[in-house]
Structure formats: C-alpha cells, structure tokens
C-alpha cells in the first residue's frame, strides 16, 4: 500500500522546455526530434581497421592499408579506429572461464585496442598519425586542422556498464559499434569498415561457394534475412536503423589493393549498407557510376562472433 500522502517539499525548477515534464513520456521524447541535426565534423572520414582481419596479419596486410590512408589524407580528413583481434578473443575466453561477468569483459577488452592503437601510431607517426585518447575527443578539430591522422581505440567506453545481452556473455557493443558511433555523432562524411572479406553474401560462402555477393543492401532487409554470420557487429546494423547522419556504411576488403583509397574517394568497392531507400548508394557518397573492377571473392573464415574482426 502507498504510504499516507505528505506535503511534498518545494522543488526549485530551472525554466526550460523540459521543466516538469517526464523525460520518459513518449510525446515529450518525440517532440525532441529535429530535421536539421547539426553535423559536428561533416568532412571527416572514419576508417575502422579490423583487429583479426587486418592488424593481426601484420605488415603485409596493415602497411598497404595505411599507405592508402596516408595518400587519401592529402585530400580528406581521416580518423582511424582500431579493433582488437585474436587477443580480445583470448581475453574473453580466459575471462569467461574464470566467471568474469559481461561488464568485466567489456572493461578489460579495451587494453588490446590500446596496444593496437600504439602499434599503428608508431607506424604512422612520421605521417602525422597520433593516438587520440577518448578523454581528448574534443581535441579532434585541432588534430584534424593540423593535418594529423588521429588513431582511436574502437571499443566504446561502455566498460562495466555494458548492457546485458541474455545468453550472450560477450559484449555486443564492440569496436565496430564504437567507430560507427564516432561517425554518427560527428556527422562524418563516410564510415568505412576495413575487413578481410569483400562484404556480404546472400548465403554463407563457406557452405555455398556460389553464394551471391551483395554489393548494396538496405539495413532492415539485411536484418530480416537473419544471417547467422555477419562480417560486422549486429549492433551496428541495429543502430544504423536509427542513425541520423551515418546512414550509409561500406565494408571493404583491405587485403585487396586500393580498396580503402577508392572507398574514401567515393567508389563502391565492397558492400554498402544503408537505411531507407532514400539513402541508397546511388543517392550518396558511393553512387559512383564507375563499374568497380570485377572482384575476386575471398573465402570467409569460420567464426563464432564478430569480436575483434
């Protein structure tokens, strides 16, 4: 039973349009939408380098990708995000075996991204690469204006506050989501995920070698396909549905020459995933009419989640 009603002490309000309103009220929430959301850094390109797919392969895979980024930096502002890779998977394995809860996994995984950030920043230092700690996120305009290439850890700062995901005991907010959110909140020009596969296939190419390659797909259709195996974290797709700025992303195969450079220059060279037909690639950055060179397909590797890819 509710306790007897008492006279409530006075509340000191600060006058605002949300004063006295419940921020949980659907009508109040909907009234806060805008058609003209500000793009904070609209000319920046966010490039996410896969951990397992690129970094763990070492010099042969990483250096050509970095060369393309340095070349592209002459025309375009670029932020690099790095994934973790094999060491993240190993960390998760040890943690799960020890019974560490989800938030603990999310907290310790970031250290691997940090290692990779330092590796990439050492390689790129003479080309103006610089590690950007998330605490210095607001310094981005300075670094970009100075011609630098900021390198960030991919993992979003969810840490111990990683939302539970039922039976999945590894974080659902990984490096792909972290870099997607950088592109989204900045209103970036492009979001490119550099992986070791050309993009998406209609079926698992491991099981069906004739599986059809998908050069572009609307995200709700992709989610409806219910593919068990995605080259990108599912959370990215679920967030893309509600994106205000980053309404197109491209997954490219960084093991193939010049894909990253071409994607930054506006060519569709992998799979473009977009939300709503109004954001189909023909109407966006990757609407180039140039036919992409016939792409050789690379076989997908077996995997059990998308972490550190």
């Amino acid at each position: 039973m509710p306790s007897a009603s008492v006279a409530k002490p006075h509340r000191t309000h600060l006058s605002s349009r949300l004063m006295r309103e419940s921020l949980l009220d659907k009508k109040v929430i909907s009234a806060t939408s805008t058609q003209t959301e500000l793009a904070i850094l609209p000319d920046v390109n966010v490039i996410a380098l896969g951990g397992q797919s690129i970094l763990d392969r070492g010099k042969k895979a990483l250096v050509p990708v970095l060369d393309q980024i340095v070349k592209a930096r002459k025309q375009h502002k670029i932020i690099i995000g790095v994934g973790g890779g094999a060491r993240v998977r190993h960390t998760f394995h040890i943690c799960l075996d020890l019974g560490i809860p989800l938030g603990g996994l999310a907290m310790v995984a970031g250290a691997v991204d940090e290692q990779n950030t330092r590796l990439v920043s050492a390689v790129l230092a003479k080309h103006k690469g610089i590690a950007l700690n998330k605490d210095h996120f607001l310094d981005l305009p300075l670094w970009l204006e100075a011609g630098m290439i900021p390198i960030m850890t991919g993992m979003p700062p969810y840490h111990y506050w990683e939302p539970p995901a039922g039976t999945q005991r590894t974080p659902t907010h990984g490096e792909d989501l972290g870099m997607f959110m950088v592109a989204e909140v900045l209103g970036a020009r492009s979001m490119i995920f550099v992986k070791d596969e050309d993009g998406l296939y209609a079926e698992d190419p491991k099981k069906n070698p004739r599986a059809e390659f998908i050069p572009a797909i609307e995200v709700n259709r992709l989610l409806a396909l219910g593919l068990a195996d995605l080259p990108i974290e599912r959370t990215v797709l679920e967030t893309l549905v509600n994106a205000r700025h980053a309404r197109q992303i491209q997954i490219v195969n960084g093991l193939k020459p010049n894909t990253v450079l071409r994607a930054i220059n506006g060519e569709p060279v992998g799979t473009v995933i977009y939300v709503g037909e109004e954001n189909a690639p023909q109407r966006g950055l990757w609407g180039s009419r140039r036919t992409p060179r016939a792409m050789k397909r690379t076989p997908a590797r077996a995997r059990h989640n998308s972490h550190g890819r």
Binding site: P2, S3, V6, K8, P9, H10, R11, T12, H13, L14, S16, R17, L18, M19, R20, S22, L23, L24, V28, A31, T32, S33, T34, L38, D56, R57, G85, R89, H93, L96, D97, L98, G99, I100, P101, G103, G104, P156, P157, Y158, Y160, E162, P163, G166, L177, G178, M181, V182, E184, V185, D196, P209, R210, N242, R244, L255, P299, R301, A302, H304
Partner: protein, 275 residues
Amino acid sequence: MAAKRRNGSAVAARTASHPSPAAPLQGLLAQPYGDAIKILPDVNVIKIGGQSIMDRGRAAVFPLIDEIVENAARHRILIGAGGGTRARHAYSVALDLDLPTGVLASIGCATSRQNARIMQMLLAKHGGVYLNPEDFEKLPLYFRVGCIPVMVGMPPYEYWEKPSEHGRIPQNRTDSGVYLTGEFLGARSVIFVKDEEGLYSGDPKKNARATFIPRISVQELLAQDLDDLVVERVVLENMLNAANVRQIQIINGLVRGNLTRALNGEPVGTIIYVA
C-alpha cells in the same frame, strides 16, 4: 573461381601472403562456460533522484541522508546520483542548438556529477566518498573501511550513446547507469528513490484518478506500452536480458522509513520483476 577454390589453390595463395594468426582460436568462444561470479553480492545500489529529491533541497535531502547513515551501519550502500532540472535545462539548450544525442549524453553527466559531489559533502562526516568512475575498482576498499560511496548515475557512454528511434533525449540516463552498476556487481538490491510511491496507471502529478501498482512484471509493464513510465524504458529492456538484477524497487524517498523498509526486503513502493 569456384573450381579454383575447390582444388585449394586460391586459399593456399591467400594464406601464404596473409597468414591468419587466429586460426587456433576458432571455436574458442563456442564452448560451454561455468556461471559468472558475482562481484559484490551484498551491496545495495540506491539511486537518489535528481528532480524528485535533490531539487527539493534540504527538506527532502536531509531526512534521507539521516536514513542512509542509519542503514549504512547494517547494509552496504552504494549511492548513484540523478540529474534533475539542470540536466533538463542543459538538454533543452542542446536540443535548441540541433545537437545530437551523443552531445546531450555527454553534458548530462555533469549535472549528475554535481549531485554526486553534493551528496558526498553531505555524507562526508559519516564516511561518504566520491567514487570516480575511473576508481570503480576501489569499491571493495571503501566498503571494507565502512564508507558510503557516491557515484555519478549516468553511464559513461557519452558520445557513444546510440541514437533512439524517436527524439534526441539519451535513452541511457541515471536510472540506466545505476541499474547497470547493480547488474555488473551482482548487487543484493537496486532501489530507486523518487518522489512518488511508485508506479501508477497514469501520471499522478497530472491525473488524480491514477491507481497505484505495488507489483508488476517487466513483461506486463512493457506489454501495456504506457506513454509514460516511472523508470527509464531501457532499464526494463535490460532487465529482460539480465543475469543478476531481475527485480528493482521504486520508493518514495519523501516518506521517512521507506528506504529502511526497502533495504530490509519489505515490499514498499513498487516492485518490478522479471516474470
């Protein structure tokens, strides 16, 4: 191409030039694991509402401080601070400037931090310590020496707060952060101290005929698809996926004794549970 793949030459060529060092790890995370441990299972996480408690000042806060101090002798208490009217003001200005959700989330933290620091000062002589999120791992130390840690309620998502379907108000605010703190710790209880008895069938501030709901399942509550809620919607969604905190309690902190009863496990206020 397919034929080439079948005889293995394409794969071999690719492997030679780009060896994948991860091969031995394949299948690693598919194996069955034992249950997760609980980090601090005897801790009670208590959220002190911003607009509902802090903004009412001394008349609301001082009695609550007294009650927290009394109970801290018997229970381990971790306090999470809400935001309130200043957060709303900051959100309003940010909304007017057409700024995205991530910016709102990042500025919302500051109001919650102010309230946490204010609570710490009020609790200092009783062992109140401000817990910087970076010092989260020091919690066991603070409890060991009998402190009452106070932390910011907002989760640290900031610019990484995902956009929601409607509007630009961050979905994860102080209710969410406090709940997730309890879920991670495997806490004994998560209690939201507000200025209403709990959940009503409507907004009691606007509709006097709204009826009180002492106990309801998350599933039922979500199915009702109410326009307004007593706790952030994302908390309910997270509860459905949670391993530890499958029940939360919302109490009226303006009534002396409610917090004590809730900490003693009594059904005061509204209990929301996973069916």
